[in-house]
């Protein structure tokens, strides 16, 4: 009898424990334990459902199982709050290091470091996620909101980021990336596509950041020389927030009022964007050399080559150029920055009979009455006087080979 009793109780325990595995996880006494245990014991391909409510997390949640979906009940219903994150428990809210991770329909709030980081995988999807520092812009907020790095096949859609002290959406050293229909505001940089090959960035709304949208390639990194970005149908509006990043980070050098900046990335097509009232400059195309930042990386290409700007709508902007770069302009030409600012720096080693080859040029057409300036800093770097020009005629035409649409395959839901 005793034996049977024991068996009964053990069996009950077993049943209830097993049944819970597929159940929705709810906020309780020890939310980190509940969620981290689910992530550690998940089967590959599992869907972990989180109930609506407020989860309080005092440590990073880490995931290393393939194909897991972490799903809440909505970005305003399921809140993962990391306000109480303790020392020594990790540098981000969620860290995923396994392929085909999907996070959707939830919010990550007030992480002390980054929001959601995915590192070194294939397949990462962020859908309808909100990452927010609820106190608004603050130098001591975490750096990145949504942060895939060295990931192949990235989808970020219908998400929101606010308050990041570096970039709200930051895609670094990745390949095959779609960033669409997101809203980013009150970050230092709204969206940053960095050292990434193949990115479609469209339908996003970046407003009220220091800089709206950055397409950058930076030196001294293992994955270099980003290229093939298509940036289209985005609203880049009033990104005039004073820069609140810590010195040292590249974005801390972004002048407040920057709409779109393309720097050192190659083969970039920007079209159909609405770029309004960014008071430093609506759209700037510059080489890394114009930042004046030193680097030691012989394999790095600092030049921006092959940019095609067409069919964009520019309104206002450029009224108050600021920063070193702008100072040079004001000294040279004075007044407001035109809609499209080019530093006029090309790789002198690639000139053919004194001309930049066709596939490496800057093309500008059909942008309404958008105005333009070529600051000709290339001549300054060569020790000469700049020939500052506002003539668009030299930039008529289309990039010979525009970047192809990104194909994410099935891994992230067949997007786009």
């Amino acid at each position: 009898m005793k034996h049977n009793l024991l068996c009964t109780s053990v069996c009950l325990l077993t049943l209830s424990a097993c049944a819970q595995e597929d159940a929705t996880l709810r906020p309780g006494d020890n939310d980190h334990r509940t969620l981290q245990e689910a992530l550690l014991t998940a089967e590959p391909g599992a869907v972990i459902e989180l109930a609506a409510g407020h989860f309080e997390l005092d440590a990073t949640l880490s995931l290393d199982v393939e194909g897991v979906t972490l799903r809440g009940q909505g970005m305003d219903e399921t809140i993962l709050d990391f306000s109480s994150q303790a020392p020594g428990t990790g540098g981000e809210g969620i860290l995923a290091t396994a392929d085909d991770f999907t996070v959707e329909n939830l919010a990550v709030e007030n992480t002390r470091g980054d929001g959601i980081k995915v590192e070194g995988t294939t397949g990462a999807a962020f859908r309808s996620v909100r990452v927010e520092w609820t106190n608004g812009p603050d130098t001591n907020n975490g750096a990145y909101g949504l942060y895939p790095v060295q990931v192949t096949n990235v989808l970020i859609e219908n998400s929101q980021v606010r308050g990041a002290s570096d970039a709200g959406i930051y895609v670094g050293q990745s390949a095959n990336v779609v960033v669409r229909r997101n809203e980013v505001w009150e970050n230092v940089a709204g969206i940053e596509i960095e050292n990434t090959t193949g990115a479609d960035v469209y339908g996003n709304r970046a407003h009220g950041n220091t800089g709206g949208l950055l397409v950058f390639s930076l030196p001294e990194l293992p994955v270099k020389d980003g290229r093939d970005a298509r940036v289209y149908d985005n609203d880049i509006v009033e990104n005039n927030l004073p820069n609140f990043g810590k010195e040292g980070a590249i974005v801390s050098t972004i002048p407040a009022g920057s709409g779109i900046i393309v720097m050192a990335s190659d083969n970039v097509e920007l079209f159909g964007n609405r770029i309004h009232n960014n008071q430093n400059s609506n759209l700037a195309v510059i080489s890394y050399l114009s930042t004046g930042r030193a680097y030691n990386d012989p394999g790095y290409d600092p030049y921006t080559e092959g940019v095609y700007i067409h069919g964009n709508e520019f309104v206002g902007g450029g009224e108050s150029p600021n920063g070193d770069f702008a100072d040079a302009f004001v000294a040279l030409a004075g007044g407001a920055f035109p809609d499209i600012v080019w530093d006029g720096v090309s790789n002198p080693d690639k000139l053919v009979e004194g001309e930049v080859p066709a596939d490496l040029r800057l093309y500008i057409e059909n942008n309404g009455d958008a105005d333009f300036v070529n600051l000709d800093l290339g001549s300054v770097f060569a020790g000469g006087e700049p020939n500052v020009s506002t003539d668009l005629a030299a930039h008529q035409g289309a990039l010979p080979a525009v970047p192809q649409p990104v194909d994410l395959g099935a891994a992230t839901g067949g997007a786009p």
Binding site: E37, D114, V149, L218, L221, A249, G292, N296
Partner: protein
């Protein structure tokens, strides 16, 4: 015999855990961890009272020249090798660099403990957690066990967790601290040194090349070089004489190496498991392994990438001669989760190591002709 008995015990407990699905209310031992014993004692690594850590037959204690800082916890390390088909111990293979190649079936054990008073560290030791690295046919697995309040055993706790602890430090001050046991994924964060495979970090030639005081069965002690002993008892194959093997300095013992040697060793042990060319810190471009002289990869006049607020308003990772302008030092001096390095496993500042790194940066050669401060 002791070894075999222990394995039986482990198997029996593992079977129990499997049958139970969730054998304990805490939920550790589920999913991929279900096959592991819920209690440390079941591994049979120690004889007598478990907390005394008296190695069972076939279990070797060892120590490292320079170890990872873990909030001042003292660490007690052991390794058990499997028996080969002939009943003898199956040896590990010596490697001059990197961890030795341990056979499948190896169990490496590390207990983290605090004495009540660091001025008498041998007394009143309280073990907090014991981490096992177990070499399975398909790779190494990390298992955190947390000691119970009575210190009679430790239980598998894959999610880790906080433990309140206090001690008197070497200067006589009372320290209250929330110690954090990492979760089983975080084991991998550090131990996946090449970005792919989980591997042991400590047991390598340069780290093991030192004397250890072994207890003798007759109650006396015997001092012996660890490499020599491992060779002598058949734990290690292919070992050169200790004098010919590399030997890492002890980071806080000045005669064991120059400031540069000791600092580079400390960085290698504390940072380079992530900050190498393939580990999880590779995305930063910072490579803190010892033995290379690429100044940019070492952080000298290197801009940060994803440091965010971790820059502390400093522009370069390392500025020679200027520790106060070096991001690397700033991050070692912080415990803020968005700033501190390493990101996991450190909730206190390693004050003495910070001094060493400060000295290293202070004494560093001034910039070469290619390095500009811009």
């Amino acid at each position: 015999m002791a070894l075999r008995r222990a394995q039986h015990a482990a198997l029996a407990i593992a079977a129990l855990a499997l049958a139970g699905c969730a054998a304990d209310e805490g939920g550790s031992g589920q999913g991929p961890f279900a096959r592991y014993p819920a209690k440390l004692s079941a591994w049979g690594l120690f004889d007598g009272e478990l907390a005394h850590h008296i190695p069972a037959g076939g279990v070797e204690p060892y120590d490292l020249n320079t170890a990872l800082f873990s909030d001042y916890a003292l660490k007690f390390r052991f390794v058990r090798l499997p028996e080969g088909p002939d009943g003898d111990v199956e040896p590990a293979l010596y490697r001059e660099e990197g961890p030795f190649e341990f056979p499948v079936g190896t169990v490496i054990s590390k207990t983290f403990a605090y004495p009540a008073d660091f001025r008498v560290p041998q007394d009143g030791l309280r073990p907090l957690e014991t981490r096992l690295l177990v070499h399975e046919a398909d790779g190494w697995v990390g298992l955190p066990y947390i000691w119970n309040a009575e210190l009679t055993d430790a239980e598998l706790e894959i999610v880790g967790g906080p433990i309140e602890v206090s001690w008197i430090d070497a200067g006589g001050a009372r320290i209250e601290h929330t110690y954090r046991v990492p979760n089983a994924n975080q084991c991998k964060t550090c131990h996946r040194t090449d970005g792919e495979r989980v591997l042991p970090i400590g047991p390598q030639a340069a780290q093991l090349n030192r004397e250890y005081t072994y207890p003798d069965p007759d109650g006396t002690t015997l001092e012996e070089n660890q490499l020599e002993r491992w060779r002598r008892i058949g734990f290690l194959e292919g070992t050169p004489p200790a004098a010919e093997a590399p030997r890492a300095p002890v980071w806080n013992v000045a005669p064991s190496g120059s400031v540069d040697e000791r600092a580079r060793t400390w960085l290698d042990v504390n940072c380079a498991h992530c900050h190498n060319l393939t580990g999880s810190g590779r995305t930063s471009g910072l490579d803190l392994r010892k033995g290379h002289r690429d100044r940019t990869r070492l952080g000298i006049y290197k801009h940060p990438v994803a440091a965010g607020l971790g820059t502390g308003d400093r522009v370069y990772a390392v500025v020679p001669g200027k520790p106060e302008e070096s991001i690397l030092l700033y991050r070692l001096e912080s415990t803020h989760p968005g700033i501190a390095m390493p990101e996991i496993g450190r909730g206190l500042v390693d004050v003495e190591a910070v001094e060493l790194i400060r000295q290293w940066i202070l004494e560093m050669e001034p910039p070469g002709p290619r390095e500009r401060a811009g």
